[in-house]
Amino acid sequence: MTPALDAKANEILLRYEQPKAAMLPLLWLVQENQGYVSAEAEAWVGRMLGVARSHVREAVSFYNMFHTKPVGRRELRVCTSLPCLLRGAGELMDRIRETLKIGPGETTPGGEVLLTEVECLCACEIAPMAQLDERYVGPLEGPSVDSIIRDSLTQPGRPESTPEPEPYLSTDGPVLSTHFKDPGGTWLDDYLTDDGYVAARKVLTSMTPQDVIDEVTSANLRGLGGAGFPAGRKWSFVPKETDKPKYLVVNADEGEPGTFKDRYILERDPHALLEGMLIAAFAIGSHKAYVYIRGEYFRSAKRLQRAIDEATGKGWLGQDIQGTGFDLDVVIHRGAGAYICGEETALLTSLEGGKGFPRLKPPFPAISGLFQCPTIVNNVETLACVPFILRNGAEHFARIGTERQGGTRLFCVCGHVVRPGVYEEPVSITLRELIEKAGGVRDGNRLKAVIPGGISAKILAADEIDVAMDFDSLKAAGTMAGSGGVIVMDETTSMVQALDSAARFFADESCGQCSPCREGTGWVHRILRRIIDGQGSLRDLDELLAIAGDMEGNTICVFADAAAWPVQSYITKFRDEFEEYIRSGRSTEQKETAECPA
């Protein structure tokens, strides 16, 4: 470990109120410098943070982006989660394995590339996709399969032949997508020209925190990370009378399979997020904000940092913002590969340098969150709605939505639709309309099922899609709006294989803290593997339902519930298909030509 690294580490430590919080940044620092996290590096990180190296190793082993031994000079992460599987990730992986002659977790003999099989990278709009080092590529079909393999073997920094993805995105708003047009991103000058920071100025110069909370409350802004909790009410939980610092933490750990919206806000309209943060920070009395960005979102983090630098340079962040006396520092904190860190208390534990373990509640973060201080955790999309509300009035925003949920959402439509992409629509749109906007089901196939709100949501059968996409309507329909990730499955889909894929995801991503989840997710997945392998029995279906029931509601966070819901809904709604699969030992639903989960 060099003096230069020591200096860099000390600089990083200054960003955090507690040294241990620099765990992930320091691990990233050594991995960027040395290619992996050596034992020597673990000891160094432990010394820098004042943490036993056993706890450094806990973190290194928990987050799956860290390597503990030298690997290839490049890394090709191939997503094989459900949305990518639906679009041929199985075949893609086979092609890559055959060509590179290595399996997942292996590096080519020449040391060119490490092949990694990963869970959802949240780029389902370009499925099947992969990430070569920091860059997202997809859809990887036809010639781009050969080109990504070629690129993965070239030296890093050389020109690459795989083209930039060009998925469909809404670009004309009304709320969230107005600055999505330029793939290069919308930067401060353009943002300011288009009424940027007008809302922030208004808030800082003419409103009280309570005014802001009232405005956001009456706008019916709901938490768009998945829980749908009213944002204004959440802010109102922060104690007014406290000596402790208050924190605003942005949940940019987008990870729910089928979801890919926050990345576009971070990369194409980062100032909308920063302005939303500034307003939220003012409302709760916070002067320090952290943005927790998932580790794989390298470009998102870089672009947001650029925006932070711009805003700081022009006096929209930092000390005495625009002469109003209000201060706000924003620190980007990068995750390192753990879905659970999207759960808000796990995110806080992770931010503090631990494994991403959700916390016992009470206390709730608004009372005791980051560093035991009052903390509000908001999703990127939620905060990006805030400038619009303060600029155009709560009523305008509320009017776009339903009675109890204002505004629009960035719906992520993927799977078997003609045109996967990000669709900004009022939350009152029905699922059927949304699928039609995405060009309908591909190849003229019949719709079989839809997951309306990310992989955790209960599945809807083809005849259940005349439901509005707001939180309350989907809840009434027995499922949830969740993260807004709509995964469409056509008639070629094997529900058995789809559930197996979902179950693998939850088994891979369970943090392992609570026994029902740790043991239950693995158990469910192993039963499904046995069924897939033709060794299932009809009794397994009832047992899967029973195990799912036992997992549900008995753990610290809702991950176990989320893992249970697909099991319950797929088996209940498609029981005949499961029974037929078990009886025949194979899938009977696939067409000869179908590209389906393998």
Binding site: S54, G512, S515
Partner: protein
């Protein structure tokens, strides 16, 4: 003081109390794995699920604070089903190797399955394989497959010893307990993790495969390893010599005492019991050339076996004949702070007060290791007791003084209780004094280089073979307890001291330690008003002014 109802019974407890503790005050036991009163709350095992009215989901009792009017059901169908579910998950990947697991018989997985489970197991998949029989350090073995990841041990090394050895690595059902690769679990309190491990994941290396725990008997006593006086249970086996390599004492476990050691015990104290079954003095020995007149008796080259009666008869006669009227004492006694208060009291009354002997329990010993937690540098369990009796401390003569007096021919008789004078003063000096004095009695538990140089060797019972009291370094008087009788022909020091007193015509309450203690409480202010009943199983703090603390 919120009032709540648990299983139909009302209870008022302090604000902030958790349901699991409130239930305990009613004698209602809610099962727990991760919860431990000494450690932070983890809430991960989920076995303590209870039903709380007006809350739809089951709640964990360990992290549910009581509130006014709360109604809790620990035995409702919903609560029982929740526990059954959790247990089934915990046992899903558990290897069920109970027949070869040392924890068997005291395993909370076994016990809770019998009490709260009794379901038909449904798990038919391949179990996750992890490492077994991993040696973590000098005292602790790890079986990762048996581990239920409750994190008690991790919290122990983080929060109690602050040594941070343990971690839980990886995630999901691949999560595994371990140390940082290459690290050794050798902190001075390492074996406590075995005690707090609710399953067979962490077991004692020392006790490994020695005996099934249901063959063990248990007796409450104290650790005699230092002046802290940690409360312990002695686990022993008497009737199965094929177990435990034939030794009686199988292991020592800490016994909870909130005022002394809480739940803990240091490794030094825990594993310092080998001497109880090894190289013990089991026979009374006297000079090989017996003489009726000890005054003219010369040095002995060898000892021969004799009887207690013969020995005490001869010794008492010699002591009685030793005249102290002429001014300076003619008898020296080097007593020991390893002895009980009762025994030290008898020694004081017999030797110092009746025979005019020079008596001390102040023996120059190198201070041992110590820390700011439990381990004390004074390795004697009863130094303060000896001090309160005037046998140690500033007013007591130094042992070296007595030894020198013996060498200088100023003593006729020397009695040494348990000390290895050869180690303390060198063999040459002991040889000299052995030749100089006409009566040299050694009473003690084990062989040592001083033993062959004594004229008389009286085998003493070890502290686990007798009753009595020690006063710890904080001035707390606590009882040791007789787990089993003295080995061989050995006798409790109090017993042969009483017999000696009888032969000397002195009278004491002869009923045993409890009676002796009554006398002690009458004579020594610090113990005034105390009895074995008031001391009880957890001890009593002596009044600080009398202890001088």
């Amino acid at each position: 003081m919120p009032s709540l109802t648990i299983d139909g019974r009302e209870v008022s407890v302090a604000d902030g109390t958790m349901v699991i503790q409130a239930a305990e005050t009613l004698g209602i036991f809610i099962p727990r794995y991760c919860y431990h009163p000494a450690l932070s709350i983890a809430g991960n095992c989920r076995i303590c699920l209870v039903e709380v009215e007006r809350i739809p989901k089951l709640q964990i009792a360990c992290n549910t604070p009581v509130s006014e009017g709360m109604v809790v059901h620990t035995k409702s169908a919903m609560a029982e089903d929740g526990r059954r579910a959790v247990l089934e998950f915990l046992l899903a990947n558990h290897p069920l190797d109970c027949p070869v697991c040392d924890q068997s018989g005291e395993c909370d997985l076994q016990d809770y399955y019998m009490n709260f489970g009794l379901y038909n197991p449904r798990f038919r998949e391949h179990k996750v394989k992890k490492q077994k029989a991993v040696e973590l350090g000098p005292h602790v073995m790890l079986d990762q497959e048996r581990c239920i990841l409750c994190s008690r041990c991790v919290r122990f090394t983080d929060e109690i010893t602050k040594t941070g050895e343990f971690g839980i690595f990886n995630r999901g059902d691949r999560a595994e307990l371990g140390l940082y690769p290459g690290d050794v679990l050798d902190n001075p309190y390492s074996a406590n993790v075995v005690d707090i491990c609710p399953v067979g994941a962490l077991t004692e290396k020392d006790f490994r495969f020695k005996a099934r725990v249901w063959y063990l008997s248990s007796a409450p006593t104290l650790c005699n390893g230092c002046s802290q006086g940690c409360n312990v249970d002695l686990h022993y086996v008497l009737d199965r010599p094929h177990l435990n390599d034939g030794a009686r004492v199988a292991r020592i476990k800490p016994r909870y005492n909130p005022d002394v050691n809480q739940w803990w015990l240091c490794d030094e104290g825990r594993y310092g019991f080998e001497w109880l079954d090894k190289e013990r003095l089991t026979k009374v020995r006297g000079p090989s050339q017996r003489s009726t007149d000890p005054q003219t008796h010369g040095p002995t080259d060898s000892q021969t076996q004799t009887s207690w009666d013969q020995a005490l008869q001869t010794i008492s006669a010699a002591l009685a004949g030793s005249d102290h009227e002429q001014g300076s004492p003619r008898i020296g006694v080097i007593a020991s702070a390893q002895l009980t208060c009762e025994e030290l009291f008898l020694i004081r009354q017999i030797f110092r007060d009746a025979l005019g002997a020079q008596v001390t329990a102040s023996v120059p010993e190198e201070p041992g290791s110590s820390d700011d937690f439990l381990i004390k540098a004074d390795k004697n369990p009863n130094t303060l007791g000896a001090t309160l009796l005037g046998l140690a401390g500033p007013d007591a003569p130094a042992a070296a003084q007595i030894v020198d007096a013996a060498i200088d021919g100023n003593l006729e008789a020397l009695w040494v209780f348990g000390h290895d004078l050869v180690e303390l003063f060198g063999e040459e000096k002991v040889r000299q004094l052995s030749e100089k004095v006409s009566l040299f009695v050694y009473s003690g538990t084990n062989e040592n280089p001083t033993v062959p140089l004594a004229h008389w060797v009286l085998p003493s019972a070890a502290y686990v073979e007798k009753d009595g009291t020690f006063v710890n370094c904080h001035g707390r008087v606590q009882r040791i307890g007789r787990a089993f009788g003295p080995i061989g022909d050995s006798r409790e020091d109090w017993r042969f001291l009483l017999e000696l007193a009888g032969k000397l015509g002195l009278s004491f309450d002869g009923s045993g330690p409890e009676g002796i203690f009554r006398g002690l409480a009458e004579h020594v202010t610090a113990f005034e008003g105390l009895s074995y009943d008031t001391i009880g199983t957890q001890g009593v703090a002596l009044r600080t002014e009398s202890v001088g603390l």
